[in-house]
Symmetry: C2
Subunit: 244 residues, 2 copies
């Protein structure tokens, strides 16, 4: 069984906040349906990139949000003009992620500021994991998530942009299906699916930047592993790359 | 708290199988962490399109899988040639979904056959919901899911292609964030996130085509609603439409 819960009552996160220290007492208060409390081996902590970025001092003066987007952009993938004169830019950003506005965030931050993504979300995940390990003696999987649109689907959904101690892609290609046939195309984007599951519980308006996922211990690894960067499709696999 | 479980022991599904009748005894055997059993109001049943399609007789002779793909294709979105001479086609299919091979499936079915998607997955979801309601006296949400690739992300993930009695998109645009600012861009693809959560539990190789999701009762509606078709991005919103 998969269980996901998101604790209330997270304190304010500002530049320099130690997220592992902030999380540790919150995790201790978690109550599970079987009556157990706290974190257990095999659990996965899912953290919105927004609080990670704030803790890393990525909130910058942003009167000119468009300039901030330009500075974070490596490649423009698509643009759209709106009747009000604004332009939506879908770009590849410094982290290699294709997202609207390069992931530069002007919501849920103080007016006149913008929030950049963590500079290296996989390094952020590894650091938070180390901090949790030092405090709890456990090695949970850690995912850092952000929100993206999808070209042919309405609505936004969360994906994993940073990871430590978790298989981001589950490769079933050596396995057989129920008829004994090879599962050829089956590399499953499990970290993105976990990000979405956590988003369902955290909500966007509820001030719950953390979720804990239980029941997927088979995806949690002792080593930190390759991180979420492996889920970024490289140029040679990109069927929608224009002008290259 | 979000809870997802996928029962074992689903019998074989063939043309004419009544899925609601097949599911009813399975659902009764579910045990939840609080000791309760069975289905409850507000639960969501997530069903792989594969078994829905099989029950609807969509398994057809498919020596020529490529011809089947062509017949299901409305618009070619992208193609890729592989060194072995095969071609991957990303297309918009008759259901309006953009997917590889039009959603024509040659895995987990008998050799020499291919499985087409349900002709109208929203109608399928409504029919299954009606059948469950008649048997159980409850009105669970029903999602039918399939698997897609993503242009800039490695790995495949599940989305919702059919729905009844569930808000497929959660519109938060009237709400405020924690700083009192409008959540402008926040239409959340909750049904796709639920599809992914169910996929994590069902697995691709485990023969578990059903999952039950508990804890998202706020998304379950009395009326069947508009179905999953509303999550398909219309042409005028498509920033990646070529040649139109």
């Amino acid at each position: 069984m998969l269980l996901v819960q998101a604790p209330d009552g997270v304190g304010e996160v500002t530049s320099g906040t130690d997220l592992a220290a902030l999380l540790t007492p919150l995790l201790a208060t978690l109550t599970w349906p079987d009556g157990s409390t706290g974190l257990a081996e095999g659990d996965i902590i899912v953290i919105a990139s927004k609080v990670v970025a704030k803790s890393e001092g990525r909130l910058v003066a942003g009167k000119d949000r468009e300039a901030a987007i330009t500075a974070e952009t490596v490649r423009v993938v698509a643009t759209r003009e709106y009747p009000d004169g604004s332009t939506l830019r879908i770009v590849e950003n410094r982290q290699g992620l294709v997202m609207a506005a390069a992931g530069v965030d002007a919501s849920n931050v103080l007016p006149g500021t913008v929030l950049l993504l963590p500079e290296d979300p996989d390094a952020s995940a590894r650091r938070i994991r180390r901090g949790l390990n030092a405090r709890l003696g456990l090695r949970p999987g850690v995912l850092i998530t952000d929100t993206v649109g999808r070209p042919w689907r309405r609505g936004i959904a969360d994906i994993s942009i940073g990871a430590a101690g978790i298989d981001v892609l589950e490769d079933l290609r050596g396995q057989k299906d129920m008829q004994g046939r090879d599962l050829r195309a089956s590399v499953i984007a499990v970290a993105d699916e976990i990000a979405g599951a956590a988003d369902l519980v955290r909500g966007k308006a509820k001030g719950r930047p953390f979720a804990v996922v239980r029941g997927l211990g088979h995806l949690v690894t002792h080593e930190d592993g390759d991180g979420a960067a492996v889920a970024i499709r490289p140029p040679e696999e990109d069927m929608f790359r224009t002008g290259s």
